[in-house]
Symmetry: C2
């Protein structure tokens, strides 16, 4: 944990000011503060002094201005699904819960874009889009808010084809640390007009401002979709199939890897009867002809690498069941050890090093004292481990942390990154200096330029003293 | 022109220091300084005090350090093909010509990426890649350097399918204003580890540092390629075809629009015999089947919108001739009026507003006193005008500037941007405040944070006093 301490500021006068703005929509109830003290994480919680529920950019602005005047930290909060401690109020302050800002403001089928308030979740947006023949592609496991997804540069199962939030956010409305409101980007698909502020705020984890509106790219629903699973004799064979698929440029829409532990967990949790073996989940989008062509090509690659049991799901319902099993992987793994907490972590490496990274990591895990499942957005070179530990058992915690650290340092040594999609938060702070070197000083300079008093989600993303 | 004046600094002592570093590779010859005083632009030139030709990141670092110590401006220079005055030494100082840093450092067919020195041009890189079955997609008209293309967030004919430099740069080596060297990004395809410094430097036009190495994404050469031109009765019909193609998600690799003026110029310059009518240039990439499917779909859309004369070029040589004609559009237009200069400008709008923007702009141009050609990366909503003017005729200059301004303000009013790909440089400075509003202050804060003494390409990208 970083040595962040509670910020001293006049709490009561600030709460009075905020009550003037928000009335009942400012809560200091212990249960509410507790609920906003952590995401889905084994990291220790930290309670905010109060939780604000603004309903407009102007209200967020008023909250941030009042906090700036008082010297109070501001912690943005979406669906609370962060995995790296992004929302813990480690320095105290005011949590800004954006879930009441949940309106879809505008959809353009002509331009394939939409503008939403930050509290809209991706499933909510897709329910809104489906009748119009459109979809929003970025698909993390949890039903996160678009604001949170932008703030953590989220990706998920479809990034291999459609990109991450980096590629899918066209513009943002952001309330800065001093309460100014800026709009970044335009609705044009590309621009060379100045610094790319949109991409600067995407992935900034609330440390540079509060995102209140997000403009995203949309896609037309594909004419044809098919999905399949394929079990492999070895995890190496599965990974080699992924690598070959990506290298051949086959435009798979989803390409997911679940190891034998995770498959057993999914079978049990979702009532499936798939082999408890390393398994790839595929999805293909396109015209009927191109979907068939892609499927054929991938099948050939898989069979040559120890793949067997290709199981197709072409009906919408069957497909939904398959992907629900994949999306519930986290909950399925948790159920492997009732009462445990998950330490969930992710790394991402160049695809050429993915087999090496996964095989060596799995070898390490043989010595792990607790159950651990592996799930990967393998097409991106990105994979996760879910360690199921008892946070009150110091031996377990120490062993898991050792294995975790070995995996992250291995990914860095292979030219990768300490997190492909979960973000830095608190959990990945120790790896920022090894990954970025001198560039970390540049990040610190940007933070100082936009938040000189370190009020925006302090203690996250940038290690102290960097 | 912005009110930038020559910076006062001890020129001779600095030149002596630089000669110690570079020897003969520091030039003060008038012809060399003149050559480095402007890009391809009608904007007035401004001579640097000397031109440095470093051969390594370390030499760039030594040059920048010496300039920082002396308080001298640093102007990075690639192929000199900038269209908005990016390389004019408006405040004096040292031009850093990176063309001797022209080595391809690393190509990975497995990861579909490459690292090159900043002075490598995109055609040079593609000659290197072709025997390996790979290509680098970003394709501006001129044979620009990768460093220059990253610095201006270049795009070009294939951005509609493969993205711009924003999507295709994975990482950079940058020498900062104080001489520190930073490496941004990793070789992983995605990362959520901190601020997106790569995207901050992409498009920063040399104002935040000197890019010395670029890591880019590559693609496998498509199995099948076909190209076609299609002439239209009206420019509106051509634009409507573009819009329909994009909205249907047909993955065209290139989708270019040339108006009747430009087509006549290309016919004359390249010895073609195409109709002198608004014309779309298409290219399709994929498997043989998918290329046929795409071509069929687009042909149907075009014929329903007044398209005629579909002319196919499936042979490599025939295709090369077609795209050479497109790439030479700039030179072809210049030849319409020997001795003139081109004022070349570009805007980009949401695709739904492209027809309106182009039709109204063409209506305006009927009153233009000089020839003007329209060329567009229409699939992106991006188009260019080339005004062929006599820079010594104040009436022509005034009339062209009026029309230019009307076009830019129209694009902004339609939700677009003042430049889709040429960058801000000097030419688009007046439109930064109208486009960005309060966000311009954020850009200024970033500039101050990374270049507090305003030594990196001063006078560009950010209007004075913003």
């Amino acid at each position: 944990m970083p040595p962040v301490s509670r910020r001293a500021y006049p709490v009561e006068p600030l709460l009075e000011t905020l009550r003037d703005v928000l009335g009942e929509r400012l809560s200091t109830a212990p249960a509410v503060r507790e609920h906003h003290s952590r995401g889905e994480t084994s990291l220790p919680p930290a309670l905010p002094d109060a939780v604000a529920f603004p309903e407009s950019t102007e209200e967020v602005q008023a909250v941030v201005r009042a906090c700036a005047a008082a010297g109070a930290p501001v912690i943005p909060f979406g669906a609370g699904t962060s995995l790296e401690g992004h929302v813990a109020a480690v320095a105290g302050g005011i949590c800004v819960d954006l879930t009441r800002m949940n309106r879809v403001l505008r959809v353009s089928a002509e331009d394939l874009d939409a503008t939403v308030e930050a509290g809209v979740t991706h499933r909510q947006l897709n329910r809104h889009l489906r009748p119009r023949g459109l979809f929003f592609s970025v698909d993390p496991g949890a039903d996160a808010t678009l604001g949170g997804m932008a703030a953590t540069r989220a990706s998920g199962t479809t990034a291999v084809r459609y990109g991450t939030m980096r590629e899918n956010v066209l513009g943002l409305t952001v309330v800065l640390a001093d309460g100014r409101v800026v709009r970044t980007g335009t609705r044009a698909r590309k621009s060379a007009a100045g610094y790319d502020l949109t991409r600067l705020f995407v992935g900034s984890e609330g440390t540079l401002g509060v995102i209140t509106e997000v403009t995203v790219r949309l896609h037309g629903l594909p004419e044809a979709v098919s999905a399949a699973t394929c079990a492999f004799e070895t995890i190496g064979g599965a990974v080699e199939t992924v690598i070959a698929t990506v290298q051949l440029g086959i435009p798979v829409a989803r390409l997911e890897l679940l190891d034998e532990v995770q498959m057993a967990a999914c079978n049990r949790y979702a009532g499936l009867a798939l082999p408890a073996a390393p398994t790839l989940f595929f999805e293909f989008h396109g015209t009927a002809r191109s979907v068939a062509e892609q499927a054929e090509a991938v099948q050939e690659l898989a069979l040559a690498r120890g793949g067997r049991d290709f199981r197709w799901a072409t009906g919408a319902e069957e497909r939904a069941q398959l992907w629900k099993a994949r999306h519930d992987a986290y909950w399925a793994a948790l159920a492997l050890r009732p009462g445990c907490r998950a330490l969930t972590t992710d790394v991402c490496v160049p695809i050429s090093r993915l087999a090496e990274c996964i095989v060596e990591t799995k070898r390490d895990l043989a010595a792990c004292p607790v159950p651990v499942a592996l799930v990967g957005h393998a097409g991106d070179g990105n994979f996760h481990l879910l360690f199921l530990l008892d946070p009150n058992d110091p031996e377990e915690v120490a062993a898991v942390h050792r294995l975790h650290e070995r995996m992250v340092l291995r990914a860095l040594a292979l030219g990768g990154t300490c997190t492909g999609e979960h973000g830095v938060g608190l959990g990945k702070l120790p790896y920022m200096a090894p990954e970025h070197g001198e560039a970390l000083a540049v990040m610190r300079a940007l933070k100082r330029a936009l938040d000189p008093h370190d009020l925006m989600n302090p203690g996250k993303l940038l290690p102290e003293g960097s």
